[in-house]
């Protein structure tokens, strides 16, 4: 009977792949006026973008069609004004430097923009949002930019004059560090209790009146959010890609927590688009190969994996007995074949990084010291640092074996695979690596902030205007900041604090390039690679243009259209 069972099971598995009877999924999933977007997590709040614990990325993706942005970042990484007439600049005089390092920036809102309940969008809504965000009783997770603002005035409902306490390089890209909120809907609740604002029905339910070309019509918690075209949106009043009249009538965001199920949705054609969070890179690679094999890639589905701004790296704790020596840190980087890692695990689609910034970043420096795989050089550096082989082959200095714990988030298959390769390669230069992984909450909540690690692998999520303050500055070790390596370099600290206050982009780029030089020489990390996440859409769907930056795939949603 046992054998019978085995035969039956094997038989079932053999028959399954042969059942490809149905026609390919070249049609829209639901209807020719609807686009279904598959994503992994549900946002907590789609109204207040800077609320705590918001699954921010998904939140922004859904909020983008609902709220007309002040400025937009295109797929060419160009900034364009949308809800404002222009980006202020020093030449035109709407961005002024004042004595004492202060600044004044004047914005002009476009007329004709309205909330979906009919009220006009005015300067008061920006001032209100700013007041909320700097109030210590409001649970904001991102008030650093807002707090640089001293005051905001509105001489008329469509003009904003923003006073900055000190220089801020990107004062022409954000009005107030937060955006706008509907004052007429939230002022009462805010007065009662600012800490409860993220729980307001506005932002968490269908009652979220927006200002964009789409409005929310249904929110099934745990399942989906449906948006419908709002035909009273004033297309002629806005700028950038938002001038194009929206063609898709209905947008559905469907939350699929299990990535295998997400892949099944793609193969079955029951989603039309999937975003960066939906399918992990390695599964995306498999999906791409499978679609290719079945002749469906390009015919049915378009897949893109653009390396972006997520930097995967290993922090080295410079207070460790071994790692405080620069030569040891450099030897570790020489001793790891990173090119082999990205080829073996990612087929080269996630490129090796030599520092924190990707080539698309305005401050990227291509001419930093690089560390190609060179075990001989690694051994030589370790010998110079005073290490001699011990009885078990592991190097020893002053009676201490060169043995390091290597931590990362448990259960992340990609990171675990990288760890094993690193462990094996470093063993060959006489370094013992002990892998010790932890659940994400312990790892990010306790281990990193208390700096109880020798080597820690994780990723930083940057954006096109990210700089080096906070994580690479020597006076921002936890709890003051997130400099987990503990690396302190006087020049780098000075440069990194100065960058956000330097208004000249060329000069800023020079400072960042110098910082990268110092960083590459000192190597308080092992730079690994830039992450690329798969985004996909049905070939029949036109004008999807992922940016590879932190702006969501919906940034140009009004341009999306089904081919006839």
């Amino acid at each position: 009977m046992r054998n019978g069972g085995r035969i039956l099971t094997v038989g079932m598995l053999l028959v399954l792949p042969g059942l490809a009877l149905a026609a390919p999924a070249v049609r829209p999933a639901v209807a020719p006026d609807t686009v279904v977007v598959g994503t992994q997590q549900e946002p907590a709040n789609i109204g207040i973008l800077f609320c705590d614990g918001c699954t921010m990325f998904v939140g922004t993706m859904i909020a983008t069609p609902l709220f007309v942005p002040v400025v937009e970042l295109t797929d060419e990484w160009k900034w364009q004004p949308v809800a404002v007439e222009k980006l202020p600049n020093l030449k035109d005089g709407d961005w002024k430097l004042l004595p004492g390092g202060k600044m004044e920036v004047t914005w002009r809102l476009r007329r004709g923009l309205r909330w979906q309940d009919g009220r006009p969008l005015t300067a008061e809504d920006f001032i209100f949002a700013w007041r909320v965000n700097v109030n210590p009783r409001f649970p904001s997770a991102g008030r650093d930019v807002s707090e640089r603002v001293e005051n905001i005035r509105a001489p008329d409902p469509y003009t904003l004059v923003v006073q900055w306490k000190k220089k801020y390089a990107f004062a022409n890209l954000t009005v107030n560090g937060v955006g706008y909120l509907p004052r007429h809907l939230l002022a009462g609740a805010y007065q009662r209790d600012p800490s409860k604002l993220p729980q307001n029905p506005w932002g968490t339910s269908e009652q979220t009146a927006g200002t964009g070309p789409y409005r929310i019509v249904e929110w099934r918690k745990g399942s989906s959010i449906t948006l419908e075209r709002w035909d009273r949106f004033p297309y002629e009043a806005v700028g950038g890609s938002w001038r194009a009249r929206a063609q898709v009538r209905r947008l559905v965001f469907r939350f699929v927590p299990d990535t295998n199920t997400q892949v099944a949705n793609v193969l079955a054609g029951t989603v039309d688009v999937f975003d960066e969070t939906a399918i992990p890179f390695v599964q995306g690679l498999e999906l791409e190969k499978r679609l290719q094999r079945e002749g469906r890639l390009g015919q049915e589905w378009v897949l893109r994996a653009e390396p972006g701004l997520i930097w995967e790296h290993v922090d080295l704790n410079v207070d460790n007995f071994h790692l405080r020596d620069k030569r040891v840190r450099q030897a570790l980087v020489y001793g790891i074949n990173r090119e082999l890692i990205v080829q073996q695990l990612f087929e080269g689609k996630q490129p090796v990084s030599h520092g924190p910034f990707p080539p698309k970043h305005y401050g990227y420096n291509p001419n930093v010291k690089k560390y190609p795989y060179d075990p001989a050089r690694a051994r030589q550096l370790l010998a110079e640092a005073g290490y001699r082989p011990g009885p078990d082959g592991v190097l020893v200095k002053d009676g201490q074996r060169l043995s390091l714990t290597f931590m990362t988030t448990a259960g992340n298959r990609t990171r675990e695979a990288v760890q094993q390769i690193v462990q094996q390669q470093l063993r060959e230069i006489g370094v013992e690596i002990r892998i010790q992984n932890q659940p994400a909450r312990v790892y990010f909540g306790e281990t990193l902030p208390s700096r109880k690690f020798d080597m820690a692998m994780y990723a930083w999520v940057f954006n096109p205007i990210s700089d080096c303050e906070g994580i690479f500055t020597g006076d921002t070790l936890p709890p003051q900041g997130q400099n987990y390596t503990g690396w302190k370099n006087e020049e780098a600290t000075r440069l990194c604090h100065a960058v956000p206050e330097e208004l000249d982009e060329a000069q800023r780029a020079r400072m960042l390039r110098r910082f990268q030089q110092i960083y590459a020489e000192e190597m308080p990390v092992i730079p690994l690679y830039f992450r690329a996440d798969y985004v996909g859409w049905k070939a029949l769907l036109r004008n999807l243009r992922p940016t590879g930056a932190d702006s969501p795939i919906t940034w140009n949603v009004t341009n999306w259209a089904w081919a006839r």
Binding site: L8, S224, W460
Partner: protein, 321 residues
């Protein structure tokens, strides 16, 4: 019997209180707190932002203060707000519970409807072809993991055959009324199949074993000897006795109906209470985890009571005073 019930219900009060303390301590003892995940990978979050958040959420209060605050609100029926979903916990749990029940109840009924007759038939025709087939499927059902079986069904019925949707809850834009009901059923078929298949397996085995034991008893032989019709022997004499242990198993399965099915719900993207509980624990949404777990504990206690009462009803030898 009434006095017995009253006594048992009264005993539950201190028990529930104790459970709530243990739950609270276990959840608080878990390393990290809800503000940690904010920091992960986001260079913009500053230490003082985290400190402010901790203050707003009262995370810096001493343990007993936090517990008493929770208890005081809970006895008034206020279980707080979900930190992840930003809605009152009770609304959230109630909604998810309805969703879970719409999966677990049909699968339970289906499982019982199949398992009872198949189990009985298997026992009466031991080593027959049907018995072997039932045993095979029972072992298959007990052995396969839910997530794997779920993915297999999705692959077969959604990806290859395209008869049914690969998970989800409903098709957007379907008009309300009959079309919506039919649409919902299409989404329910696969998860109900997975859930019922898994519990069907165990129930078949229990029924078969219990029935096998009973039909070998002397009183069954006596019943047959006195010339009763086989159908009467089976239904009146054998089945009623065989049911006693089975009813206990059924009663203890009831809390499971309300606990939802985390794996199946996740694989099929079904917004049920099981998935909610897992998300709440992983995301540090204590208010939700605490309320949902407490609620489930109460259900386990009630189910145990129900099993004891059912015993008495089925077995005349058992009397509670």
């Amino acid at each position: 019997m009434t006095r017995y019930l009253a006594r048992r219900l009264l005993q539950m009060v201190p028990l529930v209180f104790g459970i709530s303390v243990v739950l609270f301590l276990v959840l608080v003892a878990a390393p990290g707190d809800p503000t940690d995940l904010l920091l992960a990978g986001n260079p913009r979050v500053r230490a003082e932002d985290v400190r402010l958040l901790r203050k707003i959420y009262g995370l810096d209060d001493p343990l007993h203060v936090r517990y008493l605050k929770w208890l005081r609100a809970a006895v008034r029926g206020d279980f707080g707000y979900s930190r992840i979903y930003k809605v009152p916990v009770m609304d959230l749990v109630a909604e998810r519970l309805t969703n879970s029940l719409s999966l677990t109840l049909p699968s339970f009924l289906l499982a019982v409807a199949v398992a009872l007759p198949v189990g009985i038939y298997s026992a009466l025709h031991q080593y027959s072809a049907v018995d072997y087939a039932a045993t095979f499927f029972a072992f298959f059902g007990v052995s396969v993991p839910a997530f794997w079986f779920g993915i297999l069904l999705i692959y077969l019925f959604a990806v290859q055959l395209r008869w049914l949707p690969p998970g989800g809850f409903s098709t957007p834009g379907v008009p309300e009324g009959w079309p919506m009901l039919l649409d919902r059923i299409r989404y329910m078929v696969l998860p109900v199949l997975v859930l019922s298949f898994l519990s069907m397996a165990a129930l078949t085995r229990y029924t078969r074993a219990s029935m096998l034991e009973v039909i070998r008893q002397d009183y069954i032989r006596t019943a047959r000897a006195k010339g009763l019709a086989e159908s009467v022997v089976i239904t009146k004499h054998a089945l009623r006795n065989a049911l006693i242990p089975i009813v206990t198993v059924f009663a203890l399965l009831i809390p499971g109906l309300f606990a939802g099915a985390p794996l199946t719900e996740t694989v099929f993207s079904w917004p049920g209470v099981g998935r909610l509980l897992v998300e709440a624990v992983l995301g540090g949404d204590y208010a939700v985890a605490q309320a949902a777990l407490l609620f489930l504990s109460i259900l386990v206690l009630l189910a145990n009571l129900l099993a004891d009462v059912a015993y008495a009803l089925l077995d005349p030898r058992i009397r509670y005073d």
